[in-house]
Symmetry: none
Subunit: 236 residues, 2 copies
DNA sequence: ACAGATTGTTAACAGATCTTAAACGGCTCG
DNA sequence: CGAGCCGTTTAAGATCTGTTAACAATCTGT
């Protein structure tokens, strides 16, 4: 199952913008947006879904952000959280940090900075390391490729261990998706030379990767006869 | 030994003030202050002393803060760091966060806020630490590791005595749980160098730790062929 | 449609890498 | 000085991986 981010924000416009931006910038996460503290609390209480991090607006009707955060701590969920708020008084900031916030970000905030801060918090906390530079994990539609752990996850269920060479080739394909790659290009890039036997070797790896990618509805490796291959990533 | 904080700051006055204040507010930590990036790098390169967090000034002569931080990431130390800086341009802030900073704090900063932010970062990073009668311990699921007394307790029944080297390696693994650790990283950090025989030695210790951890249902040490190891901590 | 070229798939092999037990040798401490 | 501990080295066996081989399937120009 995709790791999840919980966004708690009562302003409809801002909530929508942030959710959309996060899903675009961090496609390997699902963003759940709720518009009040109580709804967030209900979700967290019954650990039905497990969240990686919570982004909480301080000023909300009914149950405000501070109150929600305190409940999170009380519940003993080890859930990182940060505040997104228009209130930038020192006392508020200190209070937020004191109850354990991993960050306290004042509106208007830079959304790129928010993404980076979230990534850095998750990096320390979660098992799955996703670097900001997108080099260690690549997500496309129903496929996530963790380059460092040599793991390939399809439809969030199917977890496959790759060999180093398989991973290297797959990485190369991802970095050149949707364009025709000549055999010669691939061989000189990955094997350093280009002869008949290495060509056959490449075919074997292509075959293995195809088998691995069988369960994906969006990704396939297509042959261009006499030329090379195309790593096709279809969009939804 | 007291856990340590590394402060890298070239301005003498500020360095002194911050160090004194931190030691007053966080007496359980020892604060080591060095006044340039190169000195900090030398300390971190081989693992003479182990730090919990690094506070880094961006503007320094010789090796600047960004450069130092990049080296920290390259070395594969899982060391949290944050920037203390007078530069508050958006591009600088984004760059700092991009290379993995846990925070980017602009001077003049509120020292109480700094302390809170440091505490929150450490809280997440250290996991459940039991500080009873000054024996520091790391607890994860069904395993408790008392690193001062070199004892490992599994399921509250099985008590195992570790050798110093075993404990050192296990400590390193705990600090880097759920990440791929390259053989080279481990060897340069723990043994100070990396050659064939030390590699064999590492394998032997891994094997011994595995035997010790056999009774845990949650922790295992997995190999990534041709790369290194992953210290897997599964959650309930 | 046919032949040759290219590509696809599977199995087998050899070398690299990893695992583990056991032997070794330096060190400490009584 | 002898026993015990501990890190290192050795060595044998297990496992993993990239390559090769063999054969099947597909493509292309004629």
């Amino acid at each position: 199952m995709k790791p999840r981010i919980l966004l708690v924000e009562d302003e409809t416009d801002l909530g929508n913008v942030v959710r959309q931006y996060l899903e675009m910038e961090m496609p390997e996460f699902q963003v759940d947006w709720v518009n009040n503290g109580r709804a967030a609390y209900e979700r967290l209480k019954t650990r039905q879904t497990h969240y990686q991090i919570a982004l909480i607006d301080v000023s909300m009707p009914e149950m405000d952000g501070f109150e929600l955060a305190e409940k999170i701590v009380q519940l003993g969920l080890n859930l990182p959280f940060l505040f997104l708020t228009a209130r930038n008084e020192k006392s508020d900031r200190l209070y937020g940090l004191k109850i354990g916030a991993d960050d306290y970000i004042s509106k208007p905030f830079d959304i790129d900075e928010l993404v980076l801060r979230i990534r850095n918090i998750l990096k320390r906390n979660a098992g799955v390391v996703i670097a900001a530079d997108n080099r260690s994990a690549i997500a496309r539609e129903d496929v996530i490729f963790y380059k460092e752990t040599l793991k390939l996850v399809i439809k969030n269920t199917n977890e496959i261990d790759l060999t180093p060479r398989e991973a290297e080739l797959l990485d190369y394909l991802f970095r050149n998706e949707n364009r025709v790659l000549k055999r010669e290009e691939i061989l000189t890039q990955l094997w350093g030379q280009n002869d008949y036997f290495l060509g056959r070797s490449l075919d074997v790896f292509i075959s293995r990767l195809r088998k691995h990618l069988n369960d994906s509805d969006f990704i396939s490796i297509d042959n261009v006869y006499g030329v090379g291959f195309v790593f096709q990533v279809r969009r939804k």
